[in-house]
């Protein structure tokens, strides 16, 4: 056992020496993803000003007047006053406003649990309305009013606050990006290097030595995980440093993020090693790996909350290891609170995934050429 680990360390050392000699290329490659994604997607919904909203004030009391004037004072909102609810809904449907707020005659009525404020918005713009809606919501709440969301157009959907409590989309996206960059990194890591070893014949240099295949595979996994962690860290630094992302939990949060990423990428590295064991060529490996990793990534809620996925995708999302890592990273970054329940669920799921993938990767590794 000790010998196995020692041999694995030798394999790891070799990989890290190669990695170090190509460090610049590797780092630059790992910079591209987070920068591109944060530039192009990160600005979605992050700084919305003058969102056109309309208010139908059906209550005729001082509290309601005060509520309206507070809303009007928000620079993020451009408020238009209406007299009927129907008028607002047709405006919403024609796209001239993004949100319709209806104040019922009983407003604010803090004693009752019946909603006294109705918030209508168009599904088409749901993703960009996170901040506007939460602004309205919090102002309404300050009056003690209960509120109800309604999406307009066909059918109504109740959607809870999209991107955490106080965050913008950049913060939301960053969590997903870190996990994604790390798992893409594990694709370029061990799996790629195994294919390369086979192509250049360097694999023989290992197969003819007395080391076991567990040593070889474990060494590769250790390398893949280290590289992926580094990529994840680069993404984190880019997100926080260049794009003003924040981690609600602070430095402790960084440790949690790294731990989550580590356990996830052990599993991913092992999974890519399995693929590399069964396919002979770079091209096939790249296609197959992307076919696996892209859906997992989208299902993980990296772009939008998993709650917005179609029903049939939900169960798949629930068994996607990336979902667990993304959720964990997001709790740490957005809410600043990582419950022991979540820690237990996420780490045990990711741990089991990593363990099974590692065992399979060892079993599937061929010791012949």
């Amino acid at each position: 056992m000790f010998q196995t680990l020692q041999d694995a360390f030798t394999v790891y050392k070799r990989e890290m020496l190669i990695f170090r000699s190509n460090l610049r290329t590797n780092i630059i490659r790992s910079l591209i993803f987070p920068i591109v994604f944060l530039v192009f997607f990160g600005n979605v919904g992050s700084t919305i000003s003058h969102t056109p909203i309309a208010i139908a004030n059906l209550a005729n009391n001082a509290q309601a007047m005060k509520f309206v004037s507070t809303l009007e004072a928000q620079s993020a909102l451009q408020v238009e006053a209406l007299t009927t609810e129907q008028q607002g809904i047709s405006m919403l449907q024609s796209g001239s406003i993004a949100v319709l707020v209806v104040i019922t005659p009983t407003f604010p009525n803090p004693g009752s649990s019946n909603p006294t404020v109705y918030i209508y918005y168009s599904n088409a713009e749901a993703t960009s309305l996170g901040t506007s809606i939460s602004t309205i919501e919090s102002i309404a709440a300050s009056f003690g009013a209960h509120f109800n969301y309604q999406a307009s157009q066909e059918g109504t959907v109740k959607v809870s606050s999209l991107y955490g409590t106080t965050s913008n989309y950049t913060d939301f996206l960053l969590g997903g990006i870190i996990v994604m960059v790390a798992s893409f990194g594990s694709m370029f890591g061990a799996g790629f290097s195994l294919i390369q070893d086979r192509m250049f014949g360097t694999i023989k240099g290992f197969l003819i030595t007395p080391i076991t295949r567990s040593s070889f595979v474990l060494g590769k996994i250790a390398y893949g995980t280290t590289a992926s962690l580094l990529y994840g860290l680069v993404a984190l630094v880019v997100g926080v440093g260049l794009f003003g992302g924040s981690i609600a939990m602070g430095l402790t949060g960084v440790i949690w993020i790294m731990l989550l990423t580590a356990v996830l990428t052990v599993g991913f590295t092992a999974m890519f090693l399995m693929i590399a064991s069964i396919v002979p060529k770079f091209e096939v490996f790249a296609i197959l790996s992307q076919a696996v990793v892209m859906p997992l990534w989208f299902l993980s809620g990296a772009f939008s909350p998993t709650a917005t996925l179609p029903t049939w995708m939900q169960p798949i999302s629930a068994i996607d290891p990336m979902t667990y890592a993304t959720n964990g990273v997001r709790s740490v970054m957005l809410t600043g609170f990582y419950s022991s329940n979540a820690i237990l669920t996420q780490f045990s799921f990711l741990g089991i995934f990593a363990l099974i993938a590692t065992i399979l990767a060892i079993k599937m590794f061929k010791t012949t050429i």
Binding site: I18, S21, T202, G205, L207, I208, T368
Partner: protein, 331 residues
Amino acid sequence: MRNIIEARGLVKKFGNFTAVDSIDLSIREGEILGLLGPNGSGKTTIINLFLGLLTPTSGSITIAGMDTSEELIKIKNLIGLMTQETVVDNDLTARDNLRIAGALYHIKGKELEKEVNEALEEAELVDFADFKAGTFSGGMQRRLNLVKSMIHNPKILLLDEPTTGLDVQNRIKMWAHIKELNKGGVTVILTTQYLEEADSLCSRIAIIDHGKVKVLGTPSELKSRVSAGSVLEIIAKPEDLRKISELLKSRFKIYANVEGDKITAVLEKGQTTTFGKINAMLIKERANVLSIGLHLPILDDVFVKLTGASMRDAAGEMKGGRSRLPIEGKR
């Protein structure tokens, strides 16, 4: 001398293709055995089977008294392999290449440093120890590769076409290195396409063709197998080649081999006197002969006699794409 490697009824099939066809081979401790044959004849497959890089379809291999199917790990400690392609990590320095290789054979600490330094000296790479192997010339990489495969001081060294792709100078250097290792007690098994390499290096030669050992013996034994006589060589104008070979067949019952503008035929001991008659016949028939001569057999002639093709021919056949080992590209 005891046998250090024994292969019995060794068969390796890739799908329908039989790369190694029930070979029995005993390799003596301390010898240099050459496996000679064209590309795709099964030489490399035999080498790969010895080290467990391939699993035999049937048959057994015993190395130093241990069966490869049972004690492969112990056996691996005894064998060094230099493969056909140069296998060093280009991104690593020569020193790191050797360190990693040594560590994989569980050499540690001071001993490892000692072995690494010795190896660098042997390969004449001391001055380049901390340069990346990728910056080396082909010859330097090959030398690094050889000392890398010897880092654990194995008793047996397998060399798969050790000099293919090297220039003359580096080839001679490599030969000297191999001879030196052998003097130090290492049993060497090498595959080669070069007859002169086998001739000058090997104590015994096995000629491999179509996965079978055609003949096994010392270079001089093999040469005497051709004949105690001589080899007839005629160079003629291309248009007359066929005519001449037909004449040789009909008049003298000599079956000649035509290659390029050259006709070669083995004259048995009794036939040497016919040389004059052949000469006279060619003059009489007004054949456009540019040169005609007799020489003592060389290994090439052995190969021609045994396989019906010259080494160069066989290699050319492979380049032409009619690979005898279609699976090779796949692996």
